[in-house]
């Protein structure tokens, strides 16, 4: 479904991604772990189409199509979804108005009829339950005045409504207390399925107790330095990232 080959990307002139290779198939959940500044969020942003991130080399194929050629909204319509690490507050734009516009835009792209107000309401009510969101939240402005936990739940709620085929969760666990973490994870698990792939980016192994991945990758200095099964996460929990970082630096020094 997703194929990343030798991806290099710059932010403000600094090279952050330095040759990422990753293949994700339908139905799989991949976790990307790594220390701060390793390029995890950059990878998520590049996949979502953030314009301030400049891809300098490599390619990304989504179902064989060149993802990097698409605008952010095209990617969303094609079925790529990113849960933001820092969801943006948008005063004056009502949640339900926004979600209806987004969903209908995606449906239109898929050649499905637009939902009318009644069907839309039915759908969001049902999906709101997945992350235990109060329906009243739908009448509030997007993320405005939401608590940290509410914002993250809102991201998963949007994913539940839009039903993407590839979901990238960018540090969806950061800053959550254990109750909120459970709610968010339960929501994510409910959305797992044979047709849907997920890339779960996290700094902490803790999340992976709740969302159990099929594969774990360690990202250090803009490259995936180790890949393995879910047991790799436990290993990292024990030993930390330090040895991987040292190894990466050594390799670099030798290359010079």
């Amino acid at each position: 479904m997703l194929e990343i080959r030798n991806l290099h990307a710059k932010v403000e002139g600094r090279e952050i991604l330095r040759g990422v290779d990753l293949t994700v198939n339908a139905g799989e959940v991949h976790s990307i772990m790594g220390p701060n500044g390793s390029g995890k969020s950059t990878l998520a942003q590049v996949l979502a189409g953030r314009e301030s991130y400049e891809v300098t080399d490599g390619e990304v194929l989504f179902d064989g199509k060149n993802l990097l050629d698409m605008d952010p909204d095209e990617r969303a319509c094609e079925g790529v979804f990113m849960a933001f690490q820092y969801p943006v507050e948008i005063p004056g734009v009502n949640m339900s108005y926004f979600m209806k516009a987004a969903l209908n835009s995606v449906r239109k792209h898929r050649g499905e009829p637009e939902l009318d107000a009644v069907d839309f309401l039915k759908l969001v009510k049902e999906r709101a339950k997945i992350v235990k969101i109060d329906e009243k939240m739908l009448q509030r402005a997007v993320n405005e005045g939401f608590s940290g936990g509410e914002k993250k739940r809102n991201e998963i709620f949007q994913m539940a409504v839009l039903e993407p085929r590839l979901a990238i969760l960018d540090e969806t666990d950061s800053g959550l207390d254990i109750d909120a973490l459970k709610i968010v994870s339960d929501g994510v698990n409910e959305l797992r399925g044979p047709e849907r792939a997920m890339v779960v980016i996290t700094h902490y192994q803790r999340l992976l107790n709740y969302i159990v991945p099929d594969f774990v990758h360690v990202l250090v200095d803009g490259r995936i330095v180790k890949s393995g099964g879910k047991e790799l996460a436990l290993e990292l929990e024990e030993s930390g990232y330090a040895s991987h970082e040292q190894q990466s630096r050594r390799r670099e020094a030798m290359a010079l």
Binding site: M82, V88, V93, F98, A101, V142
Partner: protein
């Protein structure tokens, strides 16, 4: 363009002709005469005048406007402007400044409400009109007000008697049509709300089609003790038109006046709003939303004068500026020595949509009392790129995302419009002026 000195002669001869024609209403003649001679002395303002620094009225001064021609406007075209589907809505309709009875309706007005053309009231030598007309707007020092006062021919007169409550909004609609030549009209509106009365008035200026004309407008509103007045002014003039408007609000003790000024079209639009809080315990709210595109120009010029203690005033104006348009907000708050415990707040926010759009925001506080609370704030910004990306990442294309954010910016002011059908009309106007209007309309 012709020489300004020649246009001055033109207005003087217009006045002379007009003076001969008008048979009745002789009582107004001394006021008209004083006004025309004051106008001749003042002349048109120039950008050297601080109050007109950002608005050059040279094109008005240099155009030989003819008196407004008769114009035709079909009732069917009026219907979308009317609330409650039309028929029963009380309204006065004017075409090119002339009262048009066949388009107007008194609807069902409660007892104690008098609504009629100003010309009729002047001819009848109406006592209220004699007491208030031209007693509030300042033709002594405002050239355009002087010109309007000298040449005023028709307009609207509304009086709400003491204690009367008018629940349905009253509409005053000034329609402008295209003429053979550039023309001018001097619409005049007088609203007198008696003690403890309540009334809502919506004044609309709308172009039937594109054309060059000049609406030189003056509205005087007197809110007597404890009266509640909600006033809305919506300008949707032709993009070749000039609209210079003065709204004079005189508030007596404990009165509550809220005004909304919406500018959605016009080549050159100026709103002068002058409020005098002339009694204790007044409450005054001035809201506005202005949108410019192309080479449109809107200048909002507010003066709030706190003359007595314990009055509150709130100014909240937002501008959306696109193309090569220019939007100006100038807000002056004057607190007289007597006006202790004044609470005045002013906010102006501008959203720049293009690189060539221009914005000016000028607050002025003149405080002569020592126990007051006065604040002002101005922000100028662009559509937030982070928010655009967030919306796009959910599947909205760029124009739809931007449109949604601009719409959100406008809603904060539009939410203060209390008449539901008017708010719907204005929402539509905002959306119509945005790119991707189709999509936004479907969602809404």
């Amino acid at each position: 363009m012709i020489e300004v000195a020649d246009t001055m002669d033109l207005y003087l001869s217009m006045f002379e002709r007009f003076e001969k024609q008008r048979g009745r209403g002789a009582w107004l003649l001394p006021i008209r005469k004083a006004a025309i001679s004051r106008f001749a002395e003042l002349g048109f303002p120039t950008t050297a005048d601080e109050e007109w620094r950002y608005t050059n009225v040279g094109p008005i001064a240099g155009t030989a406007f003819e008196p407004a021609p008769e114009g035709a406007f079909l009732a069917g075209k009026l219907r979308p402007l009317l609330f409650d589907g039309g028929a029963a809505a009380p309204r006065l309709v004017f075409v090119n400044g002339r009262y048009t009875p066949e388009l107007s309706s008194m609807g069902v007005l409660p007892k104690g409400v008098r609504l009629m053309s100003l010309r009729e009231a002047i001819d009848r030598e109406d006592e209220t009109v004699r007491t208030h007309l031209a007693r509030h707007a300042r033709h002594e020092d405002q050239a355009f007000t002087a010109l309007n006062t000298a040449l005023l021919d028709d307009g609207a007169f509304l009086e709400v008697a003491r204690g009367a409550i008018v629940e349905k909004p009253i509409q005053i609609i000034y329609v402008s049509t295209r003429g053979q030549t550039a023309w001018m009209a001097n619409p005049r509106t007088l609203i007198v709300a008696g003690e403890s009365s309540q009334v809502t008035v919506v004044e609309t200026y709308v172009a039937a089609e594109s054309g060059v004309y000049f609406n030189n407008v003056v509205t005087e509103i007197v809110a007597m003790e404890n009266a509640v007045v909600d006033h809305y002014k919506v300008t949707r003039e032709s993009d070749e038109a000039y609209h210079i408007g003065t709204l004079q609000l005189d508030q007596r003790r404990n009165s509550n006046v809220h005004s909304f000024a919406g500018s959605f079209g016009g080549g050159l639009v100026r709103h002068d709003i002058h409020t005098v809080l002339d009694g204790e315990g007044c409450d005054c709210g001035l809201n506005g939303l202005y949108m410019v595109d192309g080479t449109e120009h809107v200048d909002n010029h507010l003066v709030v004068e706190h003359a007595k203690p314990h009055c509150d005033s709130r100014e909240f104006f937002k501008g959306i500026l696109d193309g090569k348009g220019k939007g100006i907000f100038s807000g002056r708050i004057i607190v007289r020595p007597d006006a202790q415990k004044t609470d005045a707040k002013q906010t102006n926010m501008s959203l720049l949509m293009s690189e060539d759009a221009q914005v000016e925001s000028k607050p002025q506080l003149e405080i002569f009392a020592d126990d007051v609370k006065c604040t002002h704030g101005a922000t100028i910004g662009q559509v937030n790129d982070e928010a655009v990306f967030y919306l796009r990442s959910r599947g909205l294309n760029e124009e739809a995302a931007r449109g949604m954010l601009v719409h959100a910016f406008a809603s904060e002011v539009l939410d203060r419009v209390k008449i539901e059908p008017l708010r719907a009309q204005l929402e539509e106007l905002v959306v119509e002026r945005l790119p991707q209007r189709g999509l936004l309309k479907r969602i809404a």
